[in-house]
Symmetry: C2
């Protein structure tokens, strides 16, 4: 499936939860499959921290350019683009084409940098709704996302209850725990205290706070994997052993990478620092921290979800300690309390939070059969 | 109990596992209680990452100078200094008085800095044994430690099986998991990539890599606490709420601390960066990484522990995810396989890894009754 990214420009001001507004902004997006005549088969995909609108398919002439959920979405795949019209969209504040901190603020003529307004899950959903308006789509057959994307799917059901028929919320949570926030905060401090960050205005200094981005990504990777899968993949294996050296070859160094888990994390950190924007990292982790639909209902999630009208599929993974199954079960219970239709699958997978992006036949068959059941009037 | 730190100078060269040697080094230590005539009542306390030889008691004129295990050790306390002669010792490479990277290398006349040799748990135990020699103590009634200190206690039983009668190994593990090493590595990278680190020779530059130390400590603190206790202590409480503001007052900032867990971590990081040495942090986390007594036995822990001759008490805490109970059980099983006397207590405590430093009547009574049973010939 060869795909082409598109961009839509929005003139009208978008009011944000923080009190500011964005105007003259762009959203990058992609679509897969065909919108049917009744415009009833649209599925919106919401992305997590470091993903984008490039959800499925490949770009022409770029063999290794699969979208981040290409295993899940495409012709004949669990979310079948022969049946559904699927839309991927890059969120505001991100760094893959939609308006973000590296772009020019039309009010000042200067690059936003640290002045880009703090966006929330609710703001993203509002922006996505305007994109659907522009595409002539009133109602979504479904909205789907994993992790932070799942929070957006849940928020769609609350902000636009009449515009969503199904919400698929994977490896997600009704809000972050103190530990989740703590990991985000350490990552943010690593970035913000990197001397190359310059208070978020590093573009003007011609620098990139790569040290901080590397640390942030290394912390992230630890929390995406389970202890078990890390032990299985890396254990205590030395790099020397992988290079054919004996297991007795401790380097006795504190600065060189000695264990394979160390070189894996350093590699992931280096790669990430080359392409990801530091201000985007701050914004997106903060949107995670702030998401908490029960907050304005005195912490009562059942009360908060009473607005929802759609059907739900929730999926969690047994070894996901970042967004543990018990967090998904909180959502399930609150939905059931409201007598809403909810299916829930708890997949016994070893891969931790990352499992939502991986192929597991139990997981993909749950998604496939759920979407098989989604009715689409032609 | 008023105590006084002491220091012992060692001329003779101490060969290290890395192949280097240390000479003309000092060990800081303290003692509590009286060594009996038979010299049979000595208990050595081994410290973990950021602690020292100041284990119990107070310094004269300093009301708030309690030792780090003062709740456990003293007259009438679980480890009763009316019965035992207790020794606390600061490890080589640390930053509380014993020779470390901030001291002068006698071979070069320059400050060690990054050239301080990489020391291991086994090296520390050898240095501790020389201190005992100098104090005229041939056999320990017991050696006790938590976390990294527990690794030293275990290693004592293997390196000097005839010199230990009891080993008390608390909240510890037979080696680090890949995830443990991963957290250590991120902390080390934060320090080593701080521009103020200068390859470990920051003393000569008049700088301190405080940014890196702060990040390292924040990561550490997350792993010392359980998710549960973090939620109970901080939850999603805003700083504004603690200051009397309403819960609706999101600051919508990525740089300011918003949640109470954030200010807690920042405070812990700031405090740590004021007193802890960056090179020491690298050395001590590396000693943790390297400890693995089963390594030279093809990973067979039972085989590795066959050398031990003493009796053991193992203690673990249910919510400790850094050194989980299952890691202590691995040691217990290997000891039982060798038909060694072992008692094991798994305490259902909410406080995570930090529990080993806290007062819990179930925990302290286990320690008390174990030491009551340790026979001391007068």
């Amino acid at each position: 499936m060869i795909v082409t990214p598109q961009s839509m420009q929005f003139k009208a001001s978008l009011p944000l939860q923080c009190g500011a507004a964005l105007r003259d902004y762009a959203l990058s997006f992609e679509t897969y499959g065909e919108l049917n005549a009744a415009r009833s088969n649209a599925v919106l995909i919401c992305h997590a921290l470091n993903a984008s609108h490039h959800v499925a398919g490949r770009y022409a002439g770029q063999d290794k350019s699969e979208g981040w959920w290409d295993n899940m979405i495409g012709p004949g795949k669990p979310l079948d683009t022969d049946k559904f019209f699927v839309i991927g969209v890059n969120n505001l504040g991100s760094c893959f084409g939609s308006t973000g901190p590296m772009h020019t603020n039309p009010d000042t003529g200067r690059i936003y940098g640290a002045d880009f307004p703090v966006v929330t899950v609710e703001d993203w959903v509002n922006a996505q709704a305007r994109l659907l308006d522009a595409l002539g789509i009133q109602t979504l057959a479904a909205v789907m996302g994993g992790s932070l994307g799942g929070m957006q799917a849940l928020s769609w059901a609350l902000q636009y209850p009449e515009r969503v028929r199904h919400a698929v919320v994977i490896a997600s949570a009704p809000n972050l725990t103190a530990e989740n926030i703590a990991f985000n905060e350490v990552a943010r401090r690593a970035i913000a205290t990197d001397p190359d960050f310059h208070g978020g205005h590093f573009y003007a200094h011609g620098t990139v706070p790569k040290r901080g981005l590397r640390i942030a990504r290394m912390i992230g990777h630890i929390t995406y994997l389970s202890d078990d899968v890390m032990n299985e993949k890396f254990g205590r294996q030395l790099i020397a052993a992988a290079k054919g050296g004996g297991q007795d070859d401790y380097l006795f160094s504190t600065l060189e990478a000695e264990f394979q888990i160390e070189s894996y994390l350093r590699y992931q950190g280096d790669k990430f620092a080359e392409y990801f924007d530091a201000n985007t990292y701050l914004l997106i982790t903060r949107a995670l921290d702030y998401f908490d639909p029960a907050r304005t209902y005195g912490g009562d999630l059942s009360h908060a979800l009473a607005r929802a009208r759609c059907k739900f599929l929730l999926v969690s993974f047994s070894t996901d300690w970042r967004f543990a199954p018990k967090r998904s079960r909180e959502i399930v219970k609150a939905l059931l309390h409201n007598r809403l239709g909810v299916s829930y699958a708890e997949i016994d997978a070893p891969h931790g939070h990352d499992a939502f992006l991986l192929d597991d036949p139990r997981y993909t068959s749950v998604i496939r059969s759920y979407f098989d059941s989604v009715e689409v009037t032609p």
